[in-house]
């Protein structure tokens, strides 16, 4: 149940090819996140799986069954849209009941399922309200409720948290993760926010211009990015990518060091520099340091650090955590055995 396979899937709109060729395997119960910059094709890919768009080539299979030519409703999937797409003229109850009504279920059965879903999502008090009378988070839950009652093989989420403010986003992220643990169903989640991807996913699919750059667990992508794109995309703040002398010295065209993997010292270090902007967040401190050897480098320090604009510092990247890239943008594989199991 909930196993989805994509083979040679491609999609073109007229003469524009959005997705050239994608193979993907999604195991039952996995929380898979499609992540990538705007226009990379992640939403398109989701809609192809949902059946809202026809593929231009290739096949899509759900639990071994070829669904490439099937209508969305027949595929047994449920989707939560970015705008929630609730029916504004129906009450919450009727919104959640709608798919069951379309399936022709008994009224008694519908009522029971709706009440169950409402209880799970804490919506029981709001069943008779209209979407217009609900807050953003409540509307989201109604959208999820409408998806749950269909008891689908998999859930599809299209950037569901983009319309929420930061605080609410954090709360809803947790709720969706908890939902996944409780239901143990396959979930495919599209987002451009790599923090959401890292925190929620079992498996991340990084997409760029319609191509899959890398597939792996969050920590896999963090520790072993396969190319420059993934290295720069995963991790916040962005990995520092340095070309020129520091890279050449290490035998590569480009070297990368994450802000959290660079040591700061007032006395000595590989790259001398001056602090430009210093961001003091209390729990962390981010320094943007102008160096001659490596350009502007972003460094993260734990806790409160008494360094400010104009101070002279020395930066040294942790040799064990350096990423090296060839001229083709691909990462030279790091000595993985030594890394595995090593505590960060």
């Amino acid at each position: 149940m909930g196993e989805i396979t994509l083979r040679n899937v491609s999609k073109s709109f007229g003469t524009t090819t959005v997705i050239p060729d994608i193979d993907l395997e999604i195991a039952n119960g996995e929380f898979v996140v499609f992540v990538g910059p705007s226009g990379c094709g992640k939403s398109t890919l989701l809609r192809l799986i949902a059946g809202l768009e026809d593929v231009s080539g290739g096949t899509i299979a759900i639990d071994g069954r070829d669904v490439t030519r099937e209508a969305p409703a027949k595929r047994g999937l449920a989707m939560v849209f970015q705008s929630y797409a609730l029916y504004p003229h129906m009450s919450v109850r009727n919104n959640i009941a709608f798919p069951l009504k379309m399936a022709g279920e008994d009224k008694a059965v519908i009522d029971k399922k709706v009440n169950d879903a409402a209880r799970v999502l804490n919506l029981t008090d709001y069943l008779d309200r209209r979407p217009g009378q609900l807050s953003g988070g409540q509307r989201q839950r109604v959208a999820i409720g409408r998806a749950i009652v269909r008891q689908p093989a998999a859930f599809l989420f299209d950037e569901p948290l983009s319309n929420l403010d930061a605080a609410l986003r954090g709360t809803m992220r947790l709720e969706i993760s908890e939902l996944h643990q409780r239901l143990a169903k396959t979930m495919i989640y599209v987002t451009h926010d790599q923090v959401e991807a890292m925190t929620m996913a079992d498996k991340i699919v990084v997409l760029n211009a319609g191509k899959v750059e890398q597939v792996g667990s969050p920590l896999d992508l963090y520790r072993f990015p396969r190319n420059l794109f993934v290295a720069g995309f995963i991790g916040s703040p962005r990995m520092n990518l340095v070309s020129g002398e520091p890279a050449a010295r290490r035998g590569a065209a480009m070297m990368g060091a994450r802000p959290e993997h660079i040591r700061i010292s007032r006395e000595n270090g590989e790259w001398p520099g001056t602090v430009g902007v210093a961001e003091h967040l209390g729990a962390d401190t981010f320094l943007h340091v102008h160096t001659d050897a490596a350009g502007t480098v972003t460094v993260r320090a734990d806790g409160e650090v008494a360094l400010n604009h104009g101070d002279r510092v020395f930066l040294s990247p942790d040799p064990a955590k350096i990423h090296l890239f060839g001229a083709d943008g691909l990462a030279t594989p790091r000595s993985a055995p030594a890394m595995q199991g090593a505590a960060h």
């Binding site: 809609r47 059946g51 809202l52 768009e53 026809d54 209508a71």
Partner: protein, 290 residues
């Protein structure tokens, strides 16, 4: 969001509308073209036959033709001038803060909803009539002799009637466009030191340019087809002083039962309207996706 299924459904759902309009366009126009090349008078249907462009020649060379073209131009340009300038002034006025904007709008817009025969007769009997009309009373009041508007200045009178009917349309469109102008633009101009008249000329007027264009083009399309107002007041006269192209064709067709000539006249009218339509399409097409 298109799939094969929804695309075929779409085509099916479009067909009634498309078929109806296609037939409505093609069949009558084709027949008009056909008739225009024939001698065909409903009162003497036995005399028929192909006469190629004779209908066109006789239509264009008839004494009433060029007069009709001129009258049409005067009517259209006259109404446009009154409605656009008047509409702009009224729109500017209503846009100001006033008490009772709602009722004022309703009063100003009312003439547009009056059916043309009623509008024409109101003006003919209530106002223009020399013996009993209100204008006649006004003239007597100031010591002048009442003026026979419809007899002495038929075209001008009709321009007044039609302009009265269409003024609300222009006002409404221009008012809508005015109110879509963000006040921030005007405030920025004021901060930049521009006096009210300059603000009007440099910011308001250009913003209204599109709306004015739309008003002009749409009104022209409708004005070219004005019939009832003429029919009911002057019947094209005295003589042919208030006969427009449309009225001329109507006369040939219905009053003289000359289908052949009327068809030729109709084709001429189509050519005229198409020229205007091309410009209108260009203006609207730009805004279709907006």
């Amino acid at each position: 969001m298109s799939t094969q299924a929804s695309r075929s459904a779409a085509r099916l759902m479009l067909s009634p509308a498309v078929i109806f309009l296609l037939v409505w366009m093609i069949v009558p126009l084709a027949l008009t073209l056909w008739f225009s090349f024939q001698r065909y008078n409903l009162l003497a249907p036995e005399r028929s036959g192909f006469i190629w462009f004779d209908n066109y020649l006789s239509f264009v060379s008839s004494p009433a033709f060029w007069g009709a073209i001129v009258n049409t131009l005067i009517l259209v340009v006259g109404v446009l001038a009154v409605t656009v300038i008047g509409g702009l002034l009224v729109a500017l006025l209503i846009d100001q803060p006033i008490w009772g904007q709602g009722p004022v709008r309703i009063l100003v817009i009312a003439p547009f909803f009056i059916m043309p025969p009623v509008a024409a007769l109101i003006w003919k009997n209530m106002f223009f009539n020399p013996t009993n009309g209100l204008f006649g009373e006004l003239f007597k009041f100031v010591g002048l002799r009442p003026f026979d508007f419809l007899g002495q200045a038929p075209l001008a009178s009709i321009v007044v009637i039609v302009a009265w009917q269409w003024l609300p349309f222009a006002t409404l469109i221009l008012l809508t466009a005015l109110q879509s102008l963000s006040s921030e633009q005007l405030e920025a101009a004021e901060m930049d030191g521009a006096p009210p008249l300059k603000r009007f000329g440099y910011i308001v007027l250009p913003h209204l340019a599109r709306a004015i264009t739309v008003v002009v083009l749409i009104q022209t399309i409708f004005l070219l087809g004005i019939l009832v107002e003429i029919l009911v007041t002057t019947n094209g006269g005295p003589g042919a002083q208030s006969t427009t192209l449309t009225f001329l064709v109507y006369k040939e067709a219905i009053l003289d039962s000359d289908a052949g000539t009327a068809a030729a006249g109709g084709v001429v009218a189509v050519v005229l309207a198409n020229i205007v339509a091309i410009f209108l399409m260009r203006a609207i097409g730009k805004n279709l996706d907006a």
